[in-house]
Each structure stands twice: as C-alpha cells, then as structure tokens.
C-alpha cells in the first residue's frame, strides 16, 4: 500500500507576483503512513503552516511532487481530494447560531449533492464521529456557547466526518489549557492508531509531542526537516540544536525547556524525596548553584520530611534557622 502522503523534492513558499517567489523550503522528502501521528515542530515563522497548506492543496507548491495515496495531488478533483484529506485550521471559527451536529454534518459536504441532502448513512457517520470524538452529548448545543476545548473537538469531529485518510491540523492545541491539550493529543493519537488515519499536526507543545507522536518532523529556520521517532531526535541532539537560543536550554533528561541556570552562589542541599526536587528547583530559580558536597563556609539547607509535612533548616554564617515553607526560606536567604 502506498503511503498516504509522500513528497519528493517538494519546494514550498509564496509566489510573489512577477517577482521571484519567496522560497521557504526546498527539496522536502517526506512520507506519512496510515496509523501514524506525526507532529510538525519548529520555531515560530519557519513555515510550518505553509507546508501544511501546501500538502492539503490550499496553496500551490513551487516545485517537486506531492503524492496522496500514490496519486499526484493536482490530479484530484476538489471533491475527491476532500475525501482524502481534511483539515483543522488555526484560526478559531466565528459562526453564529449553529449547532454542533450541523457543523459536524458539514464534513459530509464532499459526499452530498448540490442541495446537500443527507442520506441515512451520512447521518450515521456524523453520529459515530460525534461519539468517537466524545462530543455526542453536546450535539444540540450551539457552537458559540462551547468552551475553546469543546469547540476544537467539534472541529476535529467535522474533519473526521469527511472520512479522510489523512487529517491535517494546524496548531489544534493553541488556544487550549493544559488538560485540553492533553485530551486533544490523546484523541489524535487514538484516531491515528485506532481509526486507520494518518494524522499530521503542527504544535508548539514539545512535551506533548514527545509523548504522543509516532514520529516528529522537526523544521528549522533554513527549511530543513529532520525526521524521526521523538526519542531518536532527543538522543541525537536535534532538539537541542534547533531550539537552543539565548537563555533557553533543552534538557534531554526531562524533555522540557529550562531557563538556563546561571547560579553562582554555591549552596549545599541535603534531604530526600519530592521536597528535595522542588527545593532544588526553587534554589535554581533564586540563582544558587546547588552543590553535591558540603565545603566549609558554604551555605547549607536541609529538608526534613515529617511524614507529609516538611521543615527547612538553613545554616549560614554559623546561625541555624528553621522555616515552614520554601517561600520563607528563600526570603531569609536573600535578605
């Protein structure tokens, strides 16, 4: 079976009237198969949206080839293309009085005639889609009364009702709170591996992408795309290379970004468990360099676990004090 999406020597960018076109990326060789969730990641402005718009046919390519299920993108009639690819775009829609089921039913447009008469099968698809996405309870609500997270799920339901082989989403988690983001990424992963779709989504949520994506396309400012399993990209240093900028540091241990610790004042920290971890983070933030061993003259903090409650003992300049929380500790240390 050919891959759902395959590009060879793809050149993307903008045609700029009669002037020379602005080329964003050159010679992209990408491949996407059914069952895969691929996250497109990269700093702002590298051209993620341009790539997504180009492979969905919203924007003409500047060169190379895009194959959808083995057939050239340009060879598809609009309707046939719509039953291959569906999208969820970044900008939130602003429709007035429209119900969730009506909006989802729009996903059947490629299959209905000029007068949009929905068959029983079409309604079945809509109903199943609403259930799969988990918004069947909202089906009679008006879209504008939903929360951002609920609305994004409905937009995914609409895209799914098109019964595409490939779903392309442009930053679907952009306006959502953390639980909302996790829910959406879980859903996308589920659609890819449980419902025979290929899913391509751009996102800025690196940690979520690392956890959910089967593969990551990492786009840099030169328009190059590094591909691989998320773990491979961490191990070979690709993340660090693309995202490391002044003051921001990719920590390959946690898979997160840290503000680079510029601690100079040495401090010795002892204790154990959760409280130790968070105390260390707090001291980092306060500008301390946490030492593993005590040297004479160095400040010293000990975390004491009293079975669920904690006490912090600080020793400096020969005096010892005890604090009930980290805030008080930090205030005293900086005084």
């Amino acid at each position: 079976m050919p891959p759902v999406l395959q590009t060879s020597a793809l050149k993307i960018g903008y045609k700029n009237g009669s002037r020379t076109p602005k080329i964003i990326a050159d010679s992209l060789d990408l491949e996407l198969r059914v069952g895969e969730l691929v996250c497109l990641i990269g700093p702002n402005g590298v051209g993620k949206s341009t790539l997504l718009r180009t492979v969905t046919g919203l924007q003409p390519k500047l060169g190379g080839e895009i194959l959808l299920s083995g057939k050239s993108l340009e060879a598809y009639a609009p309707r046939d293309l719509a039953s291959q690819v569906s999208v969820v775009l970044t900008s939130p829609i602003s429709v007035g009085a429209m119900r969730v089921d009506e909006l989802t039913a729009m996903g059947r447009f490629p299959f209905t005639g000029l007068f949009d008469r929905m068959s029983a099968h079409d309604w079945d698809v809509v109903r199943q889609t609403l259930e799969v996405v988990g918004v069947d309870k909202l089906q009679h609500r008006y879209v504008h009364t939903l929360s951002d997270g609920e609305r994004q799920k409905v937009m995914i339901a609409r895209a799914l009702a098109q019964e595409p082989r490939l779903m392309v989403l442009d930053e679907p988690t952009a306006y959502l709170d953390l639980p909302g983001r996790v829910v959406v990424m879980n859903l996308l992963h589920d659609l890819a591996c449980g419902h025979e779709k290929a899913v391509l989504t751009s996102t800025h949520d690196l940690d979520l992408a690392l956890r959910h994506a089967d593969r990551i396309w990492l786009m840099d400012e030169a328009g190059q795309i590094l591909q691989g399993a998320p773990e491979d990209l961490v191990l070979n240093g690709s993340f660090a290379q693309i995202f490391n900028r002044a003051g921001v540091h990719f920590d390959p241990h946690s898979g997160t970004f840290d503000t680079q610790s510029s601690g100079i004042n040495p401090i010795f920290l002892e204790g154990q468990g959760l409280a130790l971890i968070w105390t260390r983070k707090a001291l980092h933030r306060a500008g301390y360099k946490v030492e593993e061993a005590w040297t004479p003259g160095c400040k010293r903090v000990r975390v004491e676990d009293q079975g669920g409650a904690y006490l912090w003992h600080a020793e400096q300049d020969g005096q010892s004090e005890t604090f009930p929380n980290i805030h008080a500790l930090l205030q005293r240390l900086s005084a």
């Binding site: 429709v95 007035g96 429209m98 009506e102 490629p110 007068f115």
Partner: protein, 357 residues
Amino acid sequence: MTNSLKSKKGIKSNRLWLFGLFLFAVLLLFLLNIMLGSVRIPFKEVWGVLMAREGVRESWEYIVRNSRLPRVLTAALAGIALSASGLQMQTMFRNPLADPFILGINSGASLGVALTILGTGFVGGLFLPAANSGGEFTLALAASAGAGAVLALILLVGRWVKNPTTLLILGLMFGHATSAIVSILIYFSAPERIHAYSIWSFGSYSGVNWTQLKVMAIVILAGLALLLLLPKGLNALLLGEDYARTMGLNVGLLRFVILLSASVLSGAVTAFCGPIGFIGVAVPHLARNIFKTSNHKILIPAIVVIGAAVSMAASLIAQLPGSQLMLPINVVTSLFGAPFVVWVLLKRKRGAASFNV
C-alpha cells in the same frame, strides 16, 4: 437518544410555526396595503377586484388595479430581493454589517440616474427628451445601466482579487468615487433637477407600473433561482474560504455565482425603486435571531417571508393611511432601521455571539 430526537422535532415544529406566522403576516399586510391609503377601500370591494367580480366602484377598481396592487407587489419583491442580497453579502464577507450595496451597486445606479437627470445640462440635451417624456422608465434604464456596469466591474475584479476584504474595500472606494462625481453633478445643476434626483434617491415603491413590475419580477426571480443553488456553498463559507475549499467546493465559481445573484437582486430593486437602505442589513439579522440558526437552508426561506413582511409594513407606513401625504420609503426604513443597527452594535458589544454572521 429519544430525548435528543424530541428536541430536534421540537425545533422543527417551532420553525414551521414561525413560518406560518410570517406567511399570515405577509397576507395580512398585503390586504392592508390594498385597503388603506389616502382613500380607504372596504375589504369586500378589494376582494371583488382581486376576484375580478362585476359591480365594484370604478374609481376603487382603478386605484386597486393600477396603483395599490403593483405597489404592494413591488414592495414584497423588493423586500425579498434586498434581504436575499444582504444575506449573501453578510455571509460571503463574514461581516454582520454588510448590505446589498456594499460593493457599490447603488453607487453605480445613482451615477446612471444622476447623469440622466443632472448631466443632461452638460451633454447638450442628449437624454433630455427621453428624461422628460419617457419618465420613470428612462430612470430605470439609466439605473440599470449604472448598476450593470458596476456588476460587470465587480465580477471582473472578483476574478483576480482573491481576498474578500480587499474586494470589500475596493467596493467602498468605488462608492466614494462615484458619490464624488454625483456631488459634482449636483453642484453644477439647476435646483429643479436636483430636486428630481433627490426624489429618486429617497426611494419609492409607487413609481412602478405593470410593465416595469414584470421586468423587475423576472430579473428578481432569476436572482432568487441562483440563490436556491447556493445554501450549501453559503453554509460552507460560514467557516471561511479555506474550509470551503477543503470540503471540495469550487470557491471561485461559488463566489462568482454569489456576486452575480446578489448584484442582480439589488441592482433590479435600485433600478426600479431607487436606493432603499436598511432592509438588506436588518432582515438577515432578524431571520437569524428569530429562527435561531445560521443554516442557509432555513435562512433563505426565512428571509423571503420576513423580507416581504418588513418591506410591505414599511410601504404601509409610508402611505400614512388616512392622510393625503406620503413619506419616502427610505425615510421609513431608516427611521426603523437605524435604531435597529445601533441595537445590533450594542448587543454585540455585550458579547451576544448570535449576531455573528
């Protein structure tokens, strides 16, 4: 499941009810428009004329046949056409304050009429005999020519200007330019000609005779026939052109048909009745609010009944029943329309999303 089905049925029967209500209002307003005016004609006699019975007083028969019947039909058709045109413009531009004239159709018509009435002084009486003898039909022709020219321009520009907002601003700029030319014409014209021009610009349903009404009806029905092909496309455009494209619609063709239908509808009204404001902005909002939907499959029939009712009500008020006076139609629509638009704006500020297009 049963619960959700019930609520769906509830919405449907509710809507049928509303349609019935507005149809009744349309019939009632139709009769009132024929019965009331400077002279009051009893219902029985009106019925006699409509059924072509013998023995109706001759003067009443004349009034009903040649004045009130064409006027009320014009009012109904114009109301429907303006509302339909406004609905399409609001959806296409996704702008709640768009109206049928946003692309300058009425500016074109105004320019045509202004050139005919006011410009005759400059072009050495080229139009003068026609303007004096042919009367209203000349103005209709001039307005049609002006509206048609703008229509052609819009369709042409719409081929290569892909961004709707750019198209919108081009329309506005074109409107300003034509108004400036009209102002120049007014500035150099004799007072009686200026008066004749302003009478036209006030709008009127009374100047349309049976021949003109036939032409107008055919053009408007053609525009409405195009609109009947569009509910799916208009619904898709509610999500924006990109979504419409990815749902398999030919957005270029869709836009062409919308522009054609909307311009033909508003052009026909302006040609025969003058530039009539507010109906085209207000009725689509009323329809969305009353029927609580943005779905064009429901909105299109809704604006037909509401548009006809609102326009006929305006026509009735403009007659000032019982008096010999008559108000220009634009005065009536604006007096009611302006507060309405203000209300829309204030309501939007309070965050009522139902006033989104």
